[in-house]
Symmetry: C2
Subunit: 279 residues, 2 copies
């Protein structure tokens, strides 16, 4: 391959996903911003890009549930992960002052992380927008100095906007974890810092003790779980699919044994990727 690396992400330029993409892939990037998560997965599946950068979990808002569904449907392997500290800023047109602002637009998750700010400033109305970076773009393309955006300082810089208030998020323990997805998994687990980690999806028979027995496959071999998430099984009301992350790789004997043991008890079992845990 020659030329810059191509990567798709959801949002407009200046989104937190772009920051994650640069941390994962470096700065020599040709970026494909997508309106929806689905578009970002489709672009990778169709070979329009080499990688996709998918947020999977935020420490305040929880999992990005839609992306869990896409991970299983597209089977595009996870090859790396990273974590980004999320800092939200109130951003407006260069001529705007704080007293001018009556509306603030941003992604609903970002708005939900600035609840204290809106409680203290009841004169500013929060309004949903499809993206954080895109909200800055919209403010700059319009000519209304009473509208602000909530986004990263990178987005403010990129669009030439002004930061009126820095760091307006409720809780500073605000991080988002992102996956780097490719079309094919590498033959060997990746080299680098951080322990190896593997993500899988499985569904159990709907019988008492099923999940307990599945957990046993790992616990009995001292394989540590770092996350478990449940999602509904489409077409089978009140039954669930589980997404699970464990430390280790299927190429290690005890992890291979755990997966084989798990396979005895599951209807569906898919390995979504082995990668280095972000440090």
């Amino acid at each position: 391959m020659s030329g810059p690396i191509r990567a798709s992400f959801q949002g407009a330029r200046g989104a937190f996903s772009e920051e994650a993409g640069r941390k994962l892939l470096g700065d020599d990037l040709e970026l494909l911003p997508c309106e929806r998560f689905l578009d970002m997965f489709e672009a990778l599946a169709a070979g329009k890009v080499d990688y996709a950068v998918a947020p999977i979990e935020n420490t305040l808002a929880g999992s990005v549930y839609e992306n869990y569904d896409h991970l299983l449907n597209f089977k595009l392997p996870i090859i790396a992960e990273t974590r980004i500290r999320i800092v939200h800023n109130l951003i407006a047109r260069p001529e705007a002052e704080f007293a001018d602002i009556t509306r603030a637009i941003s992604h609903p998750v970002a708005l939900g992380q600035c609840i204290e700010f809106f409680k203290q400033h009841r004169e500013i109305r929060a309004e949903s927008f499809y993206d954080t970076g895109g909200s800055v773009q919209a403010v700059m393309e319009g000519d209304d100095r009473t509208i602000a955006a909530i986004a990263s300082s990178t987005a403010a810089e990129l669009y030439g906007a002004k930061i009126l208030v820095k760091s307006i998020e409720d809780n500073s323990e605000n991080f988002t974890r992102f996956y780097l997805l490719a079309r094919e998994a590498p033959a060997e687990p990746p080299a680098g810092e951080g322990e190896l980690k593997t993500s899988i999806a499985f569904s159990t028979a709907n019988v008492p003790g099923a999940l307990y027995k599945c957990m046993a496959a790992f616990a009995l071999r001292d394989v540590s779980l770092t996350k478990i998430e449940s999602r509904p099984l489409r077409g089978r009301p009140w039954e669930y699919l589980f997404y699970l992350d464990f430390l280790g790789a299927p190429s290690e004997r005890r992890c291979e044994n755990a997966l084989n043991h798990l396979a005895e008890m599951t209807e569906l079992l898919a390995v979504l990727g082995t990668y280095r845990q972000a440090v």
Copy 2:
């Protein structure tokens, strides 16, 4: 108490939550529609209503994660549950014909359940709105016959709107489960049909095998779990809180033992309610 029962719900009149409220409480209801889930919980906590009707899980979209957070924060007990079959219809002004429609507004979850319809009708653009019932109200209050709403037939009837296409949802196995919340739990588990079920929340120490050991408290006593959900612990990145439903009541010996055993291993343990499982 005299007079009608008062209940809060999220959405506008005609929302699926209103249908759930009638199924749980009967028709002699004084309803308080709320814009946000938070408002609905606050109205009950403040004594403005006797009950709140909260959607907790949809068989296609997954859990209503925000309401899980509110259940634990408000500690308003769950006293009953019900399930509603979700049927989405394309609804417009009485003078509108299908060929007129260029935009369809509804709650994002409803839009996401009609993906096949939008693929087949690319001339109709889907747009997010805060509520299904509210989208019909907005269409009827405006005067634009090119805009349609996606909502229940009850909402169409309530606002005098016209159903253009019935049942446009992708998958007919589309149900939502709702909780009925009160300010105080009854002294005795409720009489009625359906097995008793209990909802709890807990957090474990962040050590290997922690979740496995918690599951053991139930599995070793043959207590069946019907659902488990994880949510991030605010302020403690990459640690989780679990919401779990099991069949039985804390007043039964084996369930009491299971809860005592669980308490040995958990940092936080809260019983959110015991109620009859919807049948």
